[in-house]
Symmetry: C2
Subunit: 328 residues, 2 copies
């Protein structure tokens, strides 16, 4: 029997989860839940329906795992604990500083209701975290590096679009190749923000806008751009739509470390992602963890979990025997 999935929120991530379910024959989409008018939301899966979010509580018995596809700023902090009352839940909460608080909230709700809630699933937090953790456990005497990109940063693109005279814009975060190479050579460099990443902006200005002023405002914007070498390109809306409509991302997690009685041997562990679609990859990770949440629940586990707490085998549709035979 398939694992019945509900999706709450139908933006890029919700659509990504819908696609991921299509790629996992043991998962089945029951419905997409929205706070908008359900009639206004068109989904891709013919066998599934669109419901209003208010209908969720009444569908407790029709959904095995609810995947929360809202935002970390204002949706997930209350949604994940709320729905953990009734469902096994998975979210992609990514406000690093607030994870301990979110974990506690979800753990309380899920422990009380006897469900499993897996939070902060995706690639960072998620697969990158896992790789940092494994590498740290193996090379206890070492140094961690995380590089992001090349990819679109939503936050930085939003920041550009808030500038007066900017009609539209996209920002790419790009790792500095020389820094990556130095890390890989085991040189253990101390890298400033500027030395690790550059920022490239493609901006559509409003007619008659002062381009020099816009460029200056971008490059000097604190937190977002002032600590980086930033390039600004002014292009037309057509060019932006044609060349920059994708949401690629990726990055590198590297740990270098030493072993041996006198620390005489060097090692480099590197994990990297090159993603055409950030939300679809995140969704694919989430789909695997939805499977895990359901299996752990069936075994009687409960409470809040992160990727650190989930044994890898739970993620795979294959049996333990098949995994040992084909992938070990």
């Amino acid at each position: 029997m398939s694992i019945r999935i509900g999706i709450l929120g139908y933006g890029n991530l919700g659509r990504g989860v819908e696609c991921a379910i299509k790629h996992n024959p043991d998962l089945e989409l029951t419905g997409v839940f929205t706070r908008r008018d359900p009639k206004s939301v068109k989904i891709l899966t013919e066998s599934a329906k669109v419901y209003h979010a208010d209908e969720l509580e009444g569908m407790k018995d029709q959904i095995d795992v609810l995947i929360l596809c809202g935002g970390s700023a204002t949706d997930l902090p209350w949604q994940t604990p709320k729905y953990a009352q009734w469902f096994n839940v998975v979210d992609s909460f990514d406000t690093h500083a607030k994870i301990p608080e979110h974990f506690a909230d979800v753990d309380k709700a899920a422990s009380e209701s006897g469900h499993v809630g897996i939070i902060s699933v995706g690639w960072d937090p998620g697969m990158f975290s896992l790789n940092r953790m494994y590498a740290n456990a193996i090379l206890t005497n070492g140094k961690d590096y995380t590089f992001w990109g090349k990819g679109v940063s939503q936050g930085h693109s939003d920041a550009i679009r808030r500038i007066k005279g900017v009609k539209d814009g996209k920002q790419y975060t790009i790792p500095v190749e020389a820094a990556l190479e130095s890390v890989r050579r085991g040189e253990n460099p101390e890298l400033s923000a500027r030395e690790k990443h550059t920022r490239e902006c493609f901006v559509v200005a409003e007619e008659g806008a002062d381009l020099a002023r816009i460029e200056e405002e971008i490059k000097t914007m604190p937190n977002y751009f002032s600590d980086y070498d930033t390039t600004v390109h002014f292009i037309s809306q057509e060019e932006l739509d044609r060349d920059h409509s994708g949401i690629p991302h990726g990055g590198f997690v590297i740990r270098t470390g030493k072993t041996g009685w006198e620390d005489e041997h060097n090692h480099v562990i590197e994990y990297s992602l090159k993603l055409d679609s950030n939300p679809e990859f995140t969704s694919s990770v989430i789909a695997a963890y939805a499977r895990a949440a359901y299996r752990m629940y069936k075994e009687g586990q409960k409470g809040c979990k992160t990727v650190f707490d989930v044994a890898p085998a739970y993620l795979s549709a294959l049996s333990g025997e098949e995994l040992r035979k084909h992938l070990l």
Copy 2:
């Protein structure tokens, strides 16, 4: 209180485990056990002692986890099940084809005795297996590639040394860069053995040996060399000792796959290792899984496990709270 570790077998791997214990303050080496005369074995750790393997059974209460550092061909198939009677055990069994059988043997012994046995720990099998598995669970529609090297293959070096007229030799397995690049570009190539790896041999010939015949015998050796482009260099024993005494290794696990409603987006997941010392890295992975074995045992778990069955958090000396705060 520290986790008390015993090491059975004191070759490269046993010594590597000893070094790894030094790098993990919560692990403590109780003793090294050997089938040789204990007086003939000198270890590095001053606080630990060397015992004969026969003394192990009597030391059940002084060891929390026994790490088996014997070979996969003739030692581990009987050692791991035998010692799982009395101890939590970790081994690095790497005969892929026999893993199901070994798993069953260890599972029976460990389940009956109430201990945890983790088998096939290291990097391949081990970290490479884990990365294949995670990547398969995420990108269900994709293709796997594993490349090994650049590194010393013990089996191929042994095969060279068995040739008449060869005094000593080392063989390096080297991934073909063009194949790696094609995979990374998402071209999904079908690669023959020859297209994936080249083999480079450094050979010390006996005085007066027929070098042309040796080179021919190497290059045409079935299974080992005949399916590869192989280079043979004749060098002096001094050169071999000076330039080729290390045991480096490494490799790449890559999965490429597609997501999206119409499989319109491509993704590349890559994990790579660059290791100065193959046995010391393997040992460092084993040390982390020894910690996991002990913790799982303390929680009442039992039976045989592989890296697929161990939740990542068990590997780390950090608490769940610290992991979430610093590495998620």
